[in-house]
Symmetry: C2
Subunit: 555 residues, 2 copies
């Protein structure tokens, strides 16, 4: 409403009222901004109001789990109807808040570990999903129509003034704090320790209202660690095709890898196979990527010039500190990650995204949404989409654009390479290629306006399976695209239903490339090609600097 | 190179060497990080090395002009071959560094005021352009393959420890500083004043190496101020069509406006025309936009719920401070802008971008590049492109997607609305619609791989002229698209060459909408509809809080 009587500082005065309530309730328990852990419920009851938008920090790595648990234990008679904003639904307490009636609405990006329970809560009407986002999209909305009223974040340490040190796991913190602190919201940080002097300041104290030292350090997941022992020879073959058929073919120098064993295999044969092809210094030089342990041999072999990261990875701290020419580190020697900037880089400054998926349909649409699970997509949509605002060129981008445009009367434009890498059968012999994505039924069940697609077919440029590479850039009709996909779908029903003549024709036109078309000797596709064949090899490759988490110490 | 002898901390030790050289050369002139202004040349000669990538802060508003001038005065015998990174080439000194031989290579986003001189330097071989970018793309590359070695930035104030206060004009500073400080680069800040206590900390001292108080405050341009007195009745008519035919039709609530009088006219008839249509609270609620003075009447009328900004605007300080429910402000009451986050929001969290252009071709491609000028595009490509990574829906996005997909057998997907607003003739009776964009010749002259297009035709959804709206979403063939464009191109040669029958058919199908088709009475399209008709009206609407810069004080 406008008009002369309008109050224009409601948010500021409401903020002051909350802070006053907190001050009264906590009294001398508060030492400046610092609160004892056993009073967290009192604080949250005072500074949160019913219906608030509350952002709880937690991505696929660092979790503000002490604050998340405290939130789930609030009295729903006092605090309810919260609208939760979460990058990732990862921990039980992220859904407990809904089950207990404290929260009712959710906007998020990814929910891998909790996808089935999330779907059940939606079906039961206990949780209303606003939307699924890609991370940078969710951060963008924090500044437009989903600004948090209260943010609960995690940092490694605070000083007594409330300055925060987030260290290598900075991740989402800067985006969340900025959106909250500069719209009269309230920022509460859990920290592992309170110190006199921080190694460096990552978040200024001005932006933080309360600090609490949690009884245990924040939870963090070593999500990007892949044990090379689990990489199969099929994956080695696919990695060889990726390097020769895509990386070398397009001169890919700036890239992001998805998570998983398929791309870990690529990382691990850079120093062997790519080296034997003379590709060092010609491909894979700049990365927007978490510090994957599987990248160590390629770094040591001199393939990698720089890595900027969304978050860090447990056990990589000393290795990163000893390789500051490669990673982004602070004056204190520890890494600085930043998911917002790394996603911007992944969108705009990379020539290729390559990652795995669960299901691909005949148009090339892919999704990780399967029946009974609402999983979200994390960063994949942002990086696995053609960046149509991009204007700088590179050989890879221009070549992909030429292939897409050839023979078409259109304004020339480059294209990002978006590669979907998948074995034709996944676990339990479920075919990866399907006539219809499960996403259609998921949409119906969950009342979504359109199916939850991870990467749209018209953004995908290549599909890579053990049977070969389908270059969708060269397809000129929906029929050609369908047959190109069938042509690499192996012995799955979709693959068996191919039009053999059309597929052979596509192969003649190099729309489909088999290993032999690329001059790849399949007999070389053994685990011997992996520069590290187990975790111990990775540690050795790092000169003993990499210190894997316990669960990966299997020697 | 890899191998056991590889040095992995070259950047850190090189940084230390530079800092030591600076310390020796400056001796006691340095007080901690603080340097007297008259020693800036000595500092730069010590900390910059030949061939460095140097980022000089300066967007379309705030300029690190003291540092830019100092750089241009360096001795090219000592410092040369610099690779300059600049958001905007705005000031003479930005090109002086090339003319004087200090720098030789340039990556940038926009060069409006210096576009002609830039083109001359390129032709003369004194300047080699890496690429033209959109802002967020350039920032993304700072973390991948264009990381600055030295950054020269501007802030409003510093404390004696080197913490910086950027205040309302934070703009690009956080992105530049983070990329530099966390890759062992060197950050030098010019500040307007040095104080004991900052109003708030925007950049922690840890991230800053040197601070110099400039003899005069940094230069800043009031770029987003449009005097309502200059808005024409044709622009009022176009604004009415925009509101009724697009904003209301698609329920546009989250948006960005380009710069210019066309969109200022829309802002100024929200409280009159849109109000008369009952649209308050139904359109234009959330903005990713600088604090345009022309938005004041709509804010006062209760149309606007929130505004997040790339940068601030001179004269709006007190008004913003008094409207904290609308703008993003810090605890000190002054605004916090952030170009990187606002561009992310503009890309992912807005349903519409609407802006003006100079030339449009028959495919709908538009460009501001004209012969003899290399101008760049700023934020337009990022916001005026379909955000293909977006996954959350809204009525506007879904409706645009349905229109684009209707009758096509494709996976349903939403679409961003990208509206190009242009009068059929621009200054000097140059037609806005052309058979071939000048961009083709500019590309040839400057040796670009592809023509510099601002917004590609396949991202444009609507073209709006005084003759009507062409809805390109509904076109099904290149011929239809061409005729839809000709059908709103008025008496320009492109418009005269229309196929009259096909255009009438497109009008029947509502692909083309005239004012009368929208039920707009053209007689109402007068300047009386503007909620403010001159600068004084804007001041009055703000309750005297808006304080226009001198050059706009024309009463």
């Amino acid at each position: 409403m406008g008009g002369p009587d309008r109050v224009w500082n409601h948010q500021q005065s409401n903020r002051r009222a909350r802070l006053e309530r907190a001050g009264e309730a906590l009294g001398t328990a508060l030492s400046g901004k610092i609160l004892p852990a056993n009073r967290i419920a009192d604080l949250l009851h005072q500074v949160i109001e019913c219906g608030d938008r509350v952002c709880l920090e937690g991505n696929n790595q660092k979790q503000a789990n002490f604050l998340g648990k405290a939130l789930a234990q609030l009295d729903p008679a006092r605090i309810n109807g919260l609208h939760m904003l979460l990058s990732v639904i990862a921990l039980p307490e992220h859904l407990d808040v809904f089950e207990k009636g404290v929260a009712s609405r959710l906007d998020f990006s990814f929910s891998g570990p909790q996808a089935a329970r999330l779907a059940r809560l939606v079906m039961a009407g206990q949780l209303n999903i606003g939307a699924i986002h890609t991370y940078l999209e969710l951060f963008g909305r924090y500044f437009v129509d989903l600004t948090p009223r209260v943010s609960l974040i995690a940092a490694e340490a605070a000083d007594r003034a409330g300055n925060l040190y987030t260290g290598p796991n900075t991740e989402d913190t800067p985006a969340i704090v900025e959106a909250t602190a500069f719209k009269s919201g309230i920022v509460i940080a859990q920290v592992n320790r309170i110190v006199d002097t921080l190694p460096r300041v990552d978040v200024p104290a001005d932006w933080v209202d309360f600090v609490v030292q949690s009884p245990a350090p924040y939870y963090i997941e070593p999500l990007f660690t892949r044990d090379p022992a689990q990489i199969s020879e099929v994956q080695v073959l696919m990695a060889m095709m990726a390097i020769k058929g895509i990386y070398a073919e397009y001169e890919i120098n700036r890239l992001n890898h998805g998570i998983g064993f398929d791309t870990a295999a690529i990382e691990l044969i850079l120093p062997t196979y790519a080296q034997s092809l003379g590709l060092r210094g010609k491909i894979a030089r700049h990365w927007a990527l978490n510090p994957h342990p599987a990248l160590i041999p390629a770094i040591e072999a001199g393939f990698v010039e720089s890595v900027h990261s969304f978050g860090s990875e447990l056990g990589m701290e000393d290795y990163i500190r000893a390789r500051p020419d490669i990673f982004f580190v602070g004056p204190d020697g520890s890494m600085r990650s930043n998911r917002a900037f790394c996603q911007a880089a992944g969108h705009y400054a990379c020539d290729m995204f390559i990652g795995s998926t669960l299901q691909i349909d005949l148009q090339g649409n892919s999704s990780t949404a399967t029946l009974g699970r609402i999983s979200g997509f994390g960063g994949a949509p942002n990086m696995g989409a053609d960046a149509r605002g991009r204007r700088h060129d590179s050989p890879a981008w221009l070549k992909a654009g030429r292939q897409a445009d050839e023979g078409r009367n259109v304004m020339p434009r480059g294209r990002k390479l978006v590669v979907q890498m998948v074995e034709t059968f996944r676990e339990h012999m479920a075919p990866a290629f399907v006539e219809t994505l499960d996403a259609w039924q998921v949409a119906e069940q969950a009342g979504m306006a359109i199916p939850p697609v991870m990467i749209y077919g018209d953004d995908v440029t290549h599909i890579l399976t053990e049977e070969g590479i389908a270059n969708l850039l060269l397809c000129r009709t929906p029929e050609e695209r369908e047959q190109a996909i069938r042509g690499v779908a192996g012995y799955s029903p979709v693959g068996m239903a191919r039009d053999r003549r059309m597929v052979e024709n596509l192969r003649d036109r190099k729309v489909i490339l088999r290993a032999e078309d690329l001059g790849i000797d399949k007999r070389l596709a053994t685990r011997d090609l992996l520069a590290a064949r187990n975790m111990k090899d990775l540690v050795r490759a790092s000169g003993g600097l990499y210190d894997p988490p316990k669960r990966f110490r299997n020697w």
